[in-house]
Amino acid sequence: MSWGRRWIFRGAGIALLVAGTAFARTQLPERPATESGDLFVPQPEVARLASLGYRNLVSDYYWLQALQVVGGSAQNPSAHAPLIGRLIDVVTTLDPWVDHPYRFAALWMTDSAESVRKADALLDRGIEHHPDEWRNFFYQGFNRFFYLDEDERAADSLEAATRLPGSPAYLPRLVAKLRAGEGGLDASAAMLEELVRESDDPYARAEYEKALDEIETERRARTLDAARDEFRRRHGRDIVRVEELAEGPDAVLESLPPELHGFEWVLSPEDGRIVSSWYGARYEPLFHASARTEREQMLRGGAAGSSRTESR
């Protein structure tokens, strides 16, 4: 065989090998590691020992993994809260001076009271290492108020934030409201607006804006509730359709407040309350309307979690 021919055969063989390998690669399913359960998260102390002086590098690796978990599950990142909790625990054990991961945990670890409390503990670690960072106190206060219904403890955190440079001017008023037991929609909205302002995370901002949207929807629904009461008083009967509130010569309202998403106001077939057909349920200060059942389970789990903690 001539020299040229030999090389042609060799070249063809290599090309075949490359093509075959590439073909096999294309046939492999493209599943994120987090979905297939491949993500190994060591115990924080083990990770610290195994990092052999490269703690910052290993910490950054797990931080990027945490981001991938959230980014790879855009529909419901909080479903991965336990995994996120383990990852951020490793990240902050290896490098407790990191800043954002503490608030990242506070944002995404909201699937259960247990997760929220774990994020609360992580924020304590963040506060220990960044005592002048008002945002850690603020996130802690928000979670305690919004998810745990612990107004007093929330007020404690927010009060600590008020003493730090850079904290918003309205915080003392918010603290006073919480101390007086007047949380409700205004407090939720004020905190959420601040979170939207200061958040660097586009996913987080979208979540907060969604919650703000629900609060605004709730405000309008409450206007309709008041009008409904007035309708009952005037007509001695309840409405059959929400539109009745703005119909006829003796209409209670000139017009219905627009539904934020261009949908309409309807009577809920479940409980008869006026709801936006976009959400299908009413907003509760503590519970996201679209996941009320889950939140109820969360509170039940939280109570169990507390008793477990006490028993320890």
Partner: protein, 258 residues
């Protein structure tokens, strides 16, 4: 009496020889590549990207610096014996101690030159990415250089009496242990058994405390580091290396090359 010019000549020759090593350039290439890769990794996060970039850069310098120290250091004596050039050198008016010291200093100079190159690449990437650079980074790089001098002292010690393979294993093992010695002490201190506590504490004192040269966290988060900490870490590194070299000389002087 130690002959400084002889040591200087040996060190310069060692450096020239080491600089010709392909392993050195391969490792240096990958180090610089990894420092650059930090830019890509930092884009995976929406916050603290500059810190990640510098974290990867500093880790690359320390990791590849250690790899160069181990892989070049372990063959330090072996190559001379294998090529029989050691007989020519030692037939001249030069002691075995001077020979070993010259070799060590030549390799340390080579590695420090690599640290300088990697440090410049790190600074360039940081500046291009807009990441802050401060005295903390200089302190971290300075102590990383001292740490590498200790690692070279270990590889010199082991290469003075054993094969390159075993020297690599021993040096790598001690590098790992050196980063765990504080944990070893802490773990031991929690023991209820007095002997375990004493042994753990003793090991911590004998093993190199390489974590004392690690200022990466402080540099990345601009945490203040007292000047005395840097000075004492430097003195500790120089002293520890000197002890290892004395041991190496004592062993090397008794070694039979037949």
């Amino acid at each position: 009496m130690i002959s400084i010019p002889a040591i200087g000549t040996l060190a310069a020759n060692t450096m020239r020889e080491a600089i010709r090593s392909k392993v050195l350039y391969t490792l240096l290439f990958f180090a610089v590549l990894l420092i650059g890769t930090g830019v890509l990794l930092s884009t995976l996060t929406y916050v603290e990207g500059e810190r990640i970039l510098q974290s990867v850069g500093l880790a690359a310098i320390r990791l590849f610096g250690a790899a160069i120290a181990i892989f070049i250091g372990i063959g330090l004596i072996h190559r001379e014996v294998e090529r029989r050039t050691i007989y020519t050198i030692l037939s001249k008016p030069i002691s075995r101690g001077e020979f070993l010291l010259g070799k060590y200093l030549g390799l340390v100079a080579t590695i420090w030159l690599q640290v300088l190159v990697m440090g410049l690449a790190f600074a360039a990437v940081s500046l291009l990415a807009g990441a802050p650079l401060g005295i903390g980074h200089a302190q971290a790089l300075g102590l990383a250089a001292i740490e590498l001098a200790v690692v070279v002292a270990f590889s010199t010690l082991f290469s003075s009496f054993t094969t390159p393979m075993l020297a690599a294993l021993f040096t790598t093992g001690l590098y790992a242990l050196g980063h765990l010695s504080r944990d070893l002490r802490d773990l031991g201190s929690h023991s209820d058994v007095e002997t375990v506590r004493l042994v753990a504490s003793g090991l911590h004192r004998v093993l190199p405390d390489l974590e004392s040269f690690n200022l990466t966290t402080q540099a990345l988060h601009a945490l203040p580091v007292p000047g005395s900490e840097v000075v004492f870490a430097g003195l500790y590194g120089v002293g520890y290396s000197a002890i290892l070299l004395v041991l190496a000389v004592l062993i090397f002087e008794r070694r039979d090359f037949k």
